[in-house]
Subunit: 331 residues, 2 copies
Amino acid sequence: MSDVAALAGVSHQTVSRVLNDHPSVRPGTRARVLDAVEALGYRRNSAARTLVTRRSGTIGVVTSGSALFGPISTLLAIERAARDGGLFVSVVTVRQWDAAEVRTALDHFMDQGVDGAVVIANQDDALDAVRTWDARIPVVVVGSQDVPSGRLRAVAVDQYAGACTAVWHLLDLGHRSIAHLTGPMDWIDARERLRGWRDELEWAGRAVPAPIDGDWTAERGFRVGLALADGELPTAVFAANDQLALGLLHAFAQRGVRVPQDVSVVGFDAVDGSDHFVPPLTTVHQDFEGLGQRCLAVLRTAIDGEAASAETIVPRLIVRASTAAPRTPEA
Amino acid sequence: MSDVAALAGVSHQTVSRVLNDHPSVRPGTRARVLDAVEALGYRRNSAARTLVTRRSGTIGVVTSGSALFGPISTLLAIERAARDGGLFVSVVTVRQWDAAEVRTALDHFMDQGVDGAVVIANQDDALDAVRTWDARIPVVVVGSQDVPSGRLRAVAVDQYAGACTAVWHLLDLGHRSIAHLTGPMDWIDARERLRGWRDELEWAGRAVPAPIDGDWTAERGFRVGLALADGELPTAVFAANDQLALGLLHAFAQRGVRVPQDVSVVGFDAVDGSDHFVPPLTTVHQDFEGLGQRCLAVLRTAIDGEAASAETIVPRLIVRASTAAPRTPEA
DNA sequence: AGCATGAATGTGAGCGCTAACATCTAGAGC
DNA sequence: GCTCTAGATGTTAGCGCTCACATTCATGCT
């Protein structure tokens, strides 16, 4: 930096001012400094900046190490939103959401001087871990609908609304017996989707069957599909994600159960390729791009100490060939 | 740090030594310092460390912003490998692989003082962009099989070998007319898979039909599948990835073409759920975990100035129900 | 002319840490 | 008892930057 200052014939402080867009620098001086920067190929050392400003222009993101659709899409969207806002992203993945691992990750981010952190925490354990960390930097939790407290903020897609839309679609087609294949119950998303399914059925005055426990895997969907086909088949199944739905479709195909003629299937996520499942899957699309942007907006306001808006993102139903009216509409 | 030193009754330098595992510190002193650290909840400021050591314990990863299976899996694997090795990861995604964007990303990493960088560059543009950046830090390119040059290293999965295995499997079953639905030709992976298919057919003394241009999408696979079903159907199709294969399966199902009885289909990637496509897809599995580890090992040796081993990872064929011997084995 | 005013620039200190060197201490060897 | 040595510790400087303050300079006012 002093080299630049010398070449431009100014003090190091003026160079600093130019680089930080300080107002009171004469245009001529600014130009001279910029030329010197260019000529010398000078690049500011961000470690030194961070040391003195206590700001790194970086945010930390903690997410699960699994390649699940939701977390991954969220991560990518956050990175994009951050970069659009001139921030950079550090990532730590955790194997399990135990408090120690999360705390280690967040502590690391603090050491690094990140301006804020995001935790993509769709699971209870993750949330607990974050809550028990006494946050000295702003932290946004993606996936929960908590109210802001301390330095914690929450941003989420409204899974409940998504599930309601999906179930309503089936009710609207005339279905009455709508089964639900859930995600793992320690996932908030899974519970919200379950709740949406249940409430929607209750509002419609329908009996609510016992939900079928699932994880997020196609394998589980397949097993359940076989069992359903061999036993009492509902007229529609709402699966908690597309993988489960894919497994159902496979099982039904194998047993000669036709979709949607014999049974309708709805998924959740609108993963790539779900439009070419056999048959193309009716599913619920979440706007991850919007989620990422919202996330960053909230983080920004938290960093600047302002109040945060706790808006949620509402997902959208995509109707495709896997759903239709039941063949013999029940009275 | 001076607080810790005061509490432990030593100098700040001794504290530094303890924290850096310097050998010549008496066990008693070390314990006292550690206690003080614990009592005060002291955490070392990494910006200050980076400033003086010129090492941040961080690596940068540049990847595409798309949620494609390969790049994502690679990213996650690298993060895991890095963390296991005590390194942290900064991520920048690029929208397009233009030289300017890549250079910006790498420059940023340099400013940040990363110890090295990884570019997940399966596309020509990406490679060009990296090559034209005069690397002053070690950079590992994932996806190319370049020889090391300067500070550049390369690590890759052997796409060619994977394709050969897949095609060999079909030849072995008795197939003769094996079509290939390619990926985008500006992807190295796509070209390598194409090359493997072609060479394998040639070695077997079979005629090599014109490859069918594709991208990575199920939609494209679907279109091609319809065209094939309506025209001249080969006895087997090798699709450059699972999404394309999924589209093919959909098209064939729609046209009443049975898989594998009428046509065999092979994919590439072994994405989650490919075991529950209808029918379950024969595909090629890449060991991303291993790729990530190799990647970090190479980066490490590059950082320490040692020579790098340019080993590649060999993918593995997974045979499932989508392939079988052709019904009327051609002479 | 003389002085307040504010914009443009320079000066010094210090962020928290580590590297290099200086110093001290205890035991070995004669 | 004395030096020698090596291990354990302390001292000083400086990484590259920004902040707070000091200084300079042109401008407009009485």
